[in-house]
């Protein structure tokens, strides 16, 4: 059999392709996660603003001071909280958190693979720099 060695050229192409693919994937993941986190913070700030405006937190603080009241009238407390809280913002917030958790779970395997690839790419880069 004629001896050929395409290993280096093939691996160079693979490394270049993999670096681009990994960067793209991580970039998209980071962008989505950061966007969701920023949205959660914004929704949180908005919710807090509305609660402060309505003095809902003050009401809840009074209720918390006497926990026996909450224990006895927990249904009324919940109803107050439910009516006082800005429901639309809360739904959006809960939705965003659920999406974030979903992404985290769905990408678990992929992230593991990516971490391994990044480690290998880094090793190869280090080896290349040393030679």
């Amino acid at each position: 059999m004629k001896k050929i060695d395409v290993t280096k050229s093939v691996m160079d192409s693979i490394v270049s392709f993999e670096s681009k693919r990994t960067k793209k994937w991580l970039g998209i993941l980071l962008l989505v996660v950061v966007w969701i986190l920023i949205s959660i913070v914004l929704v949180g700030v908005r919710t807090y603003g509305i609660l402060s405006e309505r003095h809902t937190l003050d009401v809840l603080e009074i209720l918390y001071q006497d926990r026996e009241i909450i224990a006895e009238f927990w249904q009324d407390t919940l109803l107050v909280a439910w009516e006082e809280f800005p429901q639309q913002s809360m739904f959006i917030g809960v939705g965003l958190i659920s999406i974030l958790i979903g992404i985290w779970i769905v990408t678990k395997r992929r992230r593991k693979i990516m971490v391994r690839r990044i480690e290998e790419l880094a090793k190869r880069q280090k080896r290349r720099n040393n030679t």
Partner: protein, 182 residues
Amino acid sequence: MQARSMKMISDEALVRDVQEGSISAFETLVTRYQGKLHSFVSYLVRDSIAAQDIVQESFVSLYKTIDRIDTEKKFSVYLFSMTRNHAISYLRGRKVHEPLEHAMHISTGESPEIVLEQKDEAARIEDALSSIDEKFVRVIRLYYFDNLSYEEVGAYLKIPVNTVRTRLRRAKAALRTALETL
């Protein structure tokens, strides 16, 4: 995984390892198959340099699609059929360019008569080859057309070097007879 232990791992396990993110496992696959694929493609396209490019392309596309490979099935079958498809695409592409190259060849040097004679001769040899035993054809193609050595032909066909010599001698005799009868 260490390089030494990787050599003992099955292809399917290496593919699984690549699917799990290992790049060095893929390097092992390349080292393991590049020679075999090169001989295979050389036999198909009859051009060692083009074969090298095709092998390279095949490995790169293999890597890009490796996540879709079913590791329950035999990997080598998948790899060889994918490489064959690349070789066929190359041959199709070459067919499109051939007439132009052929025209250039005529205009730069040899006279049309010589070119026609050579074409006739090549056609006669092809006819003769098609009439002799396939095992003789393979030896002739590998030795004369692909310029492989006795050892390389032996390794490719998995036969001893002495058998290659004997087979080649018989192949030449069979070809001579076939040419005479044409």
